[in-house]
Amino acid sequence: MISLVIDIVLLLFLVVMAFAILRMHHLLAVAMLFGLYSLLVAGVFTVLDAPDVAFTEAAVGTGISTVLMLATLAATRSTHERRRKGVAWMPLCICIATGALLIYGIHNMPNLGDPTAPQHTEVAKRFIESGQAETGVPNLVTAVLASYRGFDTLGEVTVVFTAGIGVMLLLVRREKPRIRGEQHDAK
């Protein structure tokens, strides 16, 4: 009963937050609301018994990305979204069509937490049964991420690394390359 109330409150606030973000034109407020939205999503993940994901969502979504968004806003010096007149029909149609397709896809999915669902009977079952004996790590999420799916995680770290390199290459200001002799002319 309590968990149902918490679920409803969290999801209700998510919807309210989404509409608030849509209606808001002040970008600073939008960035803060996005942070709050992430915090609520982290709450939903906690309710769903996924503390590892909740952790990541809270740290990245609420913390780092909000600060990066604020830094970007400060760098662009543009604080308000440009108001557009009328309704953008094409994007609206695409959004409604995508949403309808996703909802259509949901109804074929097995129920949440259904133990007979395919994703729980094949690979996950093996991880749960022999994961701790094989890796000696009690937290199965870590065991799967670091050992069974080690190659994927290596890819993820490489993606993060590449993102860092990309930002450095694009945004770090260096002195302009000088043609030899130009310096003397300037003096």
Partner: protein
């Protein structure tokens, strides 16, 4: 840099706690929720707070750019190196069972090492991105 003494005091009080928590999440990730990625982000958020309160220059003095870019590379190298070490000792790439005398001990060691690699890279890349973004504000 802010002159607000409440902010400065609270930030000074919070910084060691955040850093300690990051290390806890990093090295206790095998037993409790968390791991390298989360620990890296929390670790970098401590420096974010420092930079926001005490200014970019003060933060850059603690964490110079060359340290950040070196550590970012080291993290990926540590991860891939652990994988290759598994190959050297006679297993497959990223199979840690051969790293120690017993397969389970090897797995545990390998997981700790690669999580450390993840943490190092994530923490330094987050800081690199933040510093790069924040420096654009000043130069304009």
């Amino acid at each position: 840099m802010t002159q607000n003494s409440i902010l400065r005091t609270i930030a000074k009080f919070l910084l060691p706690i955040i850093l300690l928590y990051a290390f806890y999440v990093q090295f206790h990730g095998d037993y409790s929720p968390g791991g390298g990625f989360q620990a890296g982000v929390i670790f970098s958020s401590a420096f974010l707070l420092y930079a926001l309160v005490f200014g970019l220059d003060a933060a850059a003095k603690v964490m110079p750019d060359w340290v950040l870019s070196t550590v970012a590379c080291l993290g990926v190298l540590l991860y891939a190196g652990t994988g290759i070490a598994g190959m050297v000792f006679g297993g497959e790439f990223l199979n840690y069972s051969t790293l120690a005398s017993e397969p389970v001990a090897g797995q545990h060691l390998g997981i700790i090492l690669i999580e450390l690699g993840v943490g190092l890279t994530v923490a330094s890349v987050m800081l690199i991105i933040f510093f790069t973004f924040a420096r654009r504000i000043r130069t304009q």
